[in-house]
Subunit: 201 residues, 2 copies
Amino acid sequence: MLKQIASILEDKIYNSLKEQVEKYSSLTAEEWSSFSSYWEPCTFRKNQYMTKAGQVENWFYFVYDGVLRLYAAKDGEEINAGFTYNNDFSGEYASFLSQEPTEFYIQAITDCSLLRISYKNLMYMFDELKCIERFGRQFNAKILIDMAKRQLESRSFTAEEKYKRLLTQSPHILQLVPQKHLASYLGMTPETFSRLRAKVR
Amino acid sequence: MLKQIASILEDKIYNSLKEQVEKYSSLTAEEWSSFSSYWEPCTFRKNQYMTKAGQVENWFYFVYDGVLRLYAAKDGEEINAGFTYNNDFSGEYASFLSQEPTEFYIQAITDCSLLRISYKNLMYMFDELKCIERFGRQFNAKILIDMAKRQLESRSFTAEEKYKRLLTQSPHILQLVPQKHLASYLGMTPETFSRLRAKVR
DNA sequence: TTGATTTCTTGATGTAGATCAAGTCGTGTT
DNA sequence: AACACGACTTGATCTACATCAAGAAATCAA
């Protein structure tokens, strides 16, 4: 009985993954069946580390439920580089791709439920299935486009402008992520973030 | 006679392209023959614009000879985002991939000699040849890894540290690109750049 | 529930780097 | 050769945001 419930939930998780993959490349039923067999469920508890600096990222993750943060530690201070929520892909992707040690930590902000595929298996899928090779290309393209946008924004806007843009463009994030992390993400101190909050309110 | 010289030069250019493509994915002779037929030579004169803000980037370029700079214009001020030299690929790649209007300009810093392939033809090649789809994925991965590195560096280092890193890691660039553009690339004013030059010297 | 941490707020002060300004050097043009 | 215009330098001043500090609020753990 409990097993049945668990299995229904698992179906839902795999369906969410399929939906996201198909945003980048469409798969036949057989292709999906093959591809999905390489993904395995995993979970992280709040505050647990998914990846730590110095490691080579071995997994490419799909977040079914939960919130994670990506940050680098530079002489004691944390530089938050991004967050992932439900239905995002996650992991330290640059290290995963280059198979070189990462400078980043990924930590669960809440309990998380995910699927993951190993580097070896994903590379195998790239070789075997053109639709997956395409998924890889398109997904890389998407990440790249987002990074280029963010990079320009971080250069063009003042602290106040960045705060306001966050407010209008991703208001949900304020509920999910502690302010100090958001401040760091926007490239300012928690004090500045707090003052802007008071000012704009 | 002149035609022969031109044709020998053109062979050299295509060979350089082949060499770079094969860094990402290996091609058989026939695959290369097909792929290379979609690339056409083109040139830009010093100061000429390859791409302007508002346009959708239609071309993916390979720089055989010359230097180009990529910059965005934010209320009158230029934000330099990158440079390309010999044997680099070039173009406003995020706009090329997304086929949405770019916010960037690309300007020739010197006379340039390039090859280029249109969006339509590259997409066609992605469909036709798995080795090219792979090239696309791997190239995207490389760009992405570089961007992630640069993003972290721009956050972690002071103006002086960034200047010193430029000095040790890409000293050649100082000869090729005017200081004011390098200053902007590092996220500081020309005055600050000049003062650091004096200080470090 | 209560005490202990951690996060957030608010004020006072400090500073890296920007801005403004004026001169010098270099380079291309006629 | 001369001159015009942009690139670079150097100094004086300014400012957005950081840092330091101390209290208030929220969250956590038993």
